[in-house]
């Protein structure tokens, strides 16, 4: 029931924001903040109450099921396991921060903005807990459409183009997934004497083997998810969408939307089509490695700060693909960790880029430089997250990448070695950020920009604590997801 509450708080909060904003802009912001904090506290309170069960790595922690459209076997089925819980936690944390970082940035149509923001969050939350494929698809679209508006209305200069591109790419994937869902639905119905259902647990019993049908259905799912991930060569929507979106949009895109792709692979592709996905595992790993290297090369060349960070996401998500298709427990644990830490670290970098843009009105790193003098605190914060993104131990990303590479190395040493070379490239682009933005002589002729404000301080401090905690004591996360991971790795 708590899941329903969480999603409905966000949905109702979004509508409330829109209504309140007609009267009072400030009240609208507070409504949004209260809604996301409430949605954040719910899973935490629940966690505190149920710690032992969660820590033990039990599989299904919450299961809520009512009939929705029984004629077609569609149910309103929400369930949460360790993986879902971790993702929900990340969603709600980044949700709070997204509201906070749009506090001053959004000046037009505030109500509609927060409506879209909260609905996207609700969609993402729903994606992580929906256990009915029809419902899953529904949430998949719920998170997509408001995101489109976020980019298209509050984006930067080239926002239309970016928004269309984002929409077309994701929608193409979504439609392929819909086809696959339907195909699965019918095949299952025929196999189980007319028991047509969209329920995830029922569909798990579908026997598909490794025939051409299974391959095609699997590809439908996989393409939808790897577009979101994104995988090279399906990544090209990402830099545009990330760089044009408002700060909160970039934060949610990088921190959460990309994760739905990885989550989908772990939750649906591998368990539903174990044989078919094993048969393409090597290719998927190869594409993951290509993504690591290619994303890093592109990131180094960029001069637009947000675009640069966007390409680093391509590189980091390559690790996810590599780890998932290694089919090793260690690599999968690393993948879950990577989802968390990438959400935190790249999200933080986007927030930083947003702060810089707010102060300097540019995203071009050639026009920045020497900002450490004016903003030592922001420089230090940037250093933390730049180091996180190049995989410095002590910070979470290292644990994730280390485990992924260690797991992948057992399967394919060559690919793992090339991926490790990506670590050198990641140092190249990460240091470039520091060098271009914070080092050197200060360039702005006007008054030096102000350092971090208290509101920004809260955002960055919570992200910093999160990334350091994940780097030094990641064990709780591993324990929580161990049940899921063991099940998937056994396939």
């Amino acid at each position: 029931m708590i899941l329903v509450w969480m999603i409905s708080i966000l949905l109702i909060g979004g509508v409330a924001c829109w209504l309140v904003a007609q009267r009072n802009q400030l009240a609208c912001k507070w409504t949004a903040l209260v809604a996301v904090i409430a949605a954040f506290l719910l899973p935490i309170i629940w966690y505190i109450q149920h710690t032992p069960a969660v820590g033990a790595g039990n599989n299904w922690l919450i299961d809520y099921q009512v009939k929705w459209i029984p004629a077609y076997g569609i149910g309103f089925h929400l369930a949460m396991d360790g993986l879902g819980f971790i993702m929900i936690l990340l969603t709600s944390l980044l949700g709070v921060l997204a509201v906070l970082c749009s506090w001053n940035e959004i000046r037009e149509k505030t109500g509609f903005f927060f409506f879209n923001l909260l609905w996207t969050l609700a969609g993402i939350g729903g994606v992580f807990v929906a256990m009915d494929l029809f419902l899953f698809y529904f949430f998949w679209e719920v998170m997509l459409v408001p995101m489109y508006f976020l980019i298209a209305i509050w984006g930067d200069f080239n926002r239309r183009y970016a928004a269309y591109k984002f929409f077309i790419f994701t929608q193409t994937g979504g439609l392929l997934m819909l086809l696959s869902i339907l195909a699965l639905y019918f095949i299952h119905g025929q196999q189980h004497s007319g028991n047509y259902t969209f329920d995830y647990f029922a569909l798990l019993n579908t026997t598909l083997g490794n025939g051409a049908t299974a391959r095609w259905i699997m590809l439908g799912f996989l393409i939808a998810f790897v577009i979101k991930l994104p995988m090279v060569p399906l990544h090209s929507w990402l830099p545009d969408a990330h760089s044009e979106a408002p700060t909160a949009g970039s934060l949610i895109l990088a921190g959460l939307l990309l994760k739905t792709g990885a989550y989908g692979i772990i939750r649906f592709v591998l368990p539903l089509f174990p044989d078919a996905s094993a048969s393409i595992a090597w290719w998927a790993m190869l594409l993951g490695v290509v993504g690591i290297v290619y994303g890093a090369l592109l990131a180094y060349a960029q001069t637009d700060l947000k675009r640069l960070i966007a390409y680093t996401s391509v590189s980091h998500m390559g690790f996810v693909l590599l780890g998932v298709f290694a089919f090793r427990q260690m690599a999968l644990q690393g993948v879950v960790m990577q989802l968390l830490t990438h959400g935190v670290s790249t999200g933080a970098l986007f927030v930083l880029a947003g702060m810089l843009k707010e102060r300097l009105h540019t995203r071009d790193i050639n026009q920045m430089g020497g900002l450490w003098t004016a903003m030592p605190r922001m420089g230090a914060l940037a250093m933390v997250f730049v180091m996180a993104s190049l995989g410095l131990p002590m910070l979470g990303n290292f644990v994730a990448e280390f485990l992924i590479l260690l797991g992948a190395f057992e399967v394919s040493p060559v690919l793992a070695v090339i991926a490790s070379a990506g670590l050198v490239l990641s140092a190249l682009y990460s240091l470039r950020i520091m060098q271009k933005v914070f080092y050197g002589q200060i360039q702005t002729i006007t008054a030096p920009p102000a350092d971090v404000s208290p509101r920004e301080w809260i955002i960055m401090a919570s992200l910093t604590i999160a990334i350091v905690f994940l780097g030094l004591y990641p064990q709780p996360v591993f324990d929580i997801v161990s049940g899921v991971v063991q099940q998937v790795a056994r396939l």
Binding site: P393, L423, V424, G440, Q441, F478
Partner: protein, 627 residues
């Protein structure tokens, strides 16, 4: 005693946290007390531990303390767990003790800098990471420290970030060491795949059973570990970052780029001795790399004019000696050279820092001169350091450690005459450039005025270090002379004994040759540089090409620039717009084109539409009739 282990890295960590959170609000004296005090506390803790280690050695030769479990996933279990044995103890002693002296020195050296707190925060973090590196009981924690020191090195080289060349130097240092680090990481993966554990104890225990001596996999693993060590320790071909790293403040060069961090590679190889011994090929490579490096870097040091770059090249060269010793299997000699080198090289850098500050940031030695009279304390301490560097017989610490290496490079099981000759040539060059440095800086005419005399607080660390530069060697005498082996007795609890060749030649003879070579190097330096003669050599046209070649560090930078940097930049530049995106744009453009073709038919003429409808009807009817 076990419980004290965590305090050693915890004190500097505490300093780092305090300074990075509240550094901007604190006054300079408070910052100095936190910054230097925490390291001093760590040093005191170390000494307490060290004394009790020597009095009552722990069972199994090591103390261990588990802090918490870092991560346990599947069969991999990595703990944040510290371990101290004799080898580690030597390293943490140097790190905390020399580190504390350098911190005290820095409180005066950096007193005018606006970013006082940032400096000490980074230095404290460095000490903490370095301690974790050497105290780690598993390779992942070692890697944490390994990257942590890399980060601090990066932060401190780029400390004066408003000068672009400093940032470039910082980036270069980070990247080149990162290449080594990645090799090390791959080595860890391979080790885990083979042995299923990353705990050092387990690895060293299982390796002899699991690996065939000289087999392919063990050779590959050790080569990867060695490349990791080469990156951090600035060995050929990954040495180019260290001379540029001198862009950082002098205390940084003393602590990070001379005494501690750059010897991390030596530590790694010594720590993993069980693996390296299984692979004679790698051992030979380590020795050869060391020998070549010590020669190449020594030659480069001869041609430098920047006082800190001379010292930087000499650091590379001295670490080359350590690698050589490791490679021939003279484990304790390598560690002993690390031990003495830390003192005298830290001393030289700190003294250089004093000189540079006194002469208003003058780095060029040919603009110095005549400082013997004006700065007598600095002169005397520098002399002690330079004597140790050039290994003057009997009166300097450097003699005892370097002589052992020279001796083993011939007589140890892995040694051979070529290595010995290289090392001997290196010794000659070392003596030559040390003498050149001394004579040009301290004798002759004064070419720059001395602006201010150094503080007492900066001189005291120099004197302490000078004392150790002379006396640190006395704890280990050659076999034929007193045969005092305090140092190697301790080290050999951890490291294997050096295996000697059968029917070894007389050690006296080798000591004599080494001493003679050193003295002749000093004499040649005296001839060339005493009085005006140094200038003549410098201006000789025939030598200038060689000099430029050596000055640029054997053109390694240019080579890498052409082979790696330029192609990489070219590749990234041409692909800035992402070719794959072009493909999607082409698809989009294709549909636009189709749209424009089809929209020709939509011309707004009603008549055309009706003709179209009619044609359609006729077509359908015809179809109907035909079929």
């Amino acid at each position: 005693m076990n419980q004290l282990l965590a305090y050693i890295p915890a004190f500097p960590l505490l300093g780092f946290i305090l300074l990075s959170l509240f550094g901007r609000k604190l006054t300079n004296p408070v910052i100095a007390i936190i910054g230097a005090g925490t390291v001093c506390l760590a040093a005191i803790t170390t000494i307490v531990l060290g004394v009790s280690f020597l009095q009552t050695p722990p069972q199994g030769g090591a103390w261990q303390q588990l802090l918490w479990s870092w991560f346990r996933v599947g069969t991999l279990s990595v703990d944040l767990s510290l371990r101290i044995d004799a080898l580690t103890l030597i390293f943490i002693f140097i790190i905390t003790f020399v580190g504390a002296l350098i911190h005290i020195y820095s409180t005066f050296f950096m007193r005018h800098d606006a970013d006082y707190a940032r400096f000490f925060a980074s230095m404290n973090l460095f000490v903490c990471s370095m301690l974790l590196l050497v105290m780690a009981d598993n390779l992942v924690l070692l890697y944490l420290g390994w990257e942590g020191v890399g980060l601090c090195s990066y932060l401190l080289i780029g400390f004066w970030y408003d000068v672009p060349s400093n940032c470039r130097a910082a980036n270069k240092a980070f990247l080149i060491t990162r290449i080594g680090d990645t090799a090390l990481l791959i080595g860890l993966f391979l080790l885990f795949k083979e042995l299923g554990s990353l705990n050092m104890g387990t690895i060293l225990q299982q390796a002899p059973k699991h690996f065939v001596s000289g087999g392919a996999s063990i050779t590959l693993i050790t080569i990867l570990l060695m490349v990791g060590g080469m990156g951090k320790s600035a060995q050929l071909p990954l040495q180019t970052w260290l001379p540029d790293a001198m862009a950082g403040p002098s205390p940084v060069s003393a602590l990070i780029h001379a005494a501690t961090m750059v010897t991390a590679g030596v530590y790694l190889i010594a720590r993993m001795n069980g693996l390296f011994q299984l692979s004679p090929v790698t051992m030979a490579i380590v020795a050869i790399v060391g020998a070549i490096t010590l020669f190449v870097a020594g030659c480069s040091a001869l041609a430098q004019t920047d006082i800190k770059r001379i010292l930087a090249y000499s650091t590379i060269s001295q670490i080359g000696y350590m690698f050589l010793a490791l490679g021939v299997g003279a484990w304790s000699a390598a560690i002993f050279h690390f031990f003495t080198h830390a003192f005298f090289k830290a001393l030289l850098f700190l003294a250089a820092g004093v000189i540079i500050e006194a002469l208003h940031h003058e780095h060029n030695i040919f603009m110095m001169g005549g400082l013997r009279k004006r700065m007598p304390e600095v002169f005397l301490t520098f002399l002690a350091g330079a004597a140790a560097l050039s290994a003057l017989p009997l009166v300097s610490a450097g003699f005892y450690s370097k002589d052992a290496i020279l001796w083993y490079s011939w007589s140890a099981a892995g040694g051979n005459p070529v290595l010995w000759l290289m090392a001997l040539a290196g010794a000659f060059i070392t003596a030559l450039y040390s003498t050149r440095l001394m004579l040009v800086v301290f004798w002759g005419d004064m070419r720059s005025p001395v602006h201010e005399q150094p503080d007492k607080g900066m001189i005291i660390p120099l004197i302490v270090l000078a004392f150790f530069s002379v006396t640190a060697g006395f704890i280990e005498w050659p076999h034929n002379l007193f045969h005092l082996t305090l140092f190697s007795d301790q080290v050999q609890q951890v490291l294997p004994q050096t295996v000697m060749k059968e029917n070894e030649p007389s050690e006296w003879l080798f000591q004599g040759i080494a001493a003679l070579v050193t003295l002749s190097g000093v004499y040649l330096g005296y001839v060339l540089y005493y009085g005006k003669s140094g200038v003549r050599w410098q201006q000789s046209p025939g030598l200038s090409a060689t000099r430029d070649f050596l000055f640029s560090g054997w053109k390694f930078d240019q080579l890498y620039n052409y082979v790696f940097v330029k192609p990489y930049l070219f590749l990234t530049r041409i692909n800035k717009g992402d070719v794959i995106d072009k493909l999607y744009n082409a698809i989009a453009q294709g549909s636009m084109r189709l749209n424009s073709w089809f929209s020709v038919s939509q011309n707004g003429s009603l008549r055309m539409y009706i003709v179209g409808v009619l044609a359609g009807i006729l077509f359908i009817i015809t179809l109907q009739l035909l079929l």
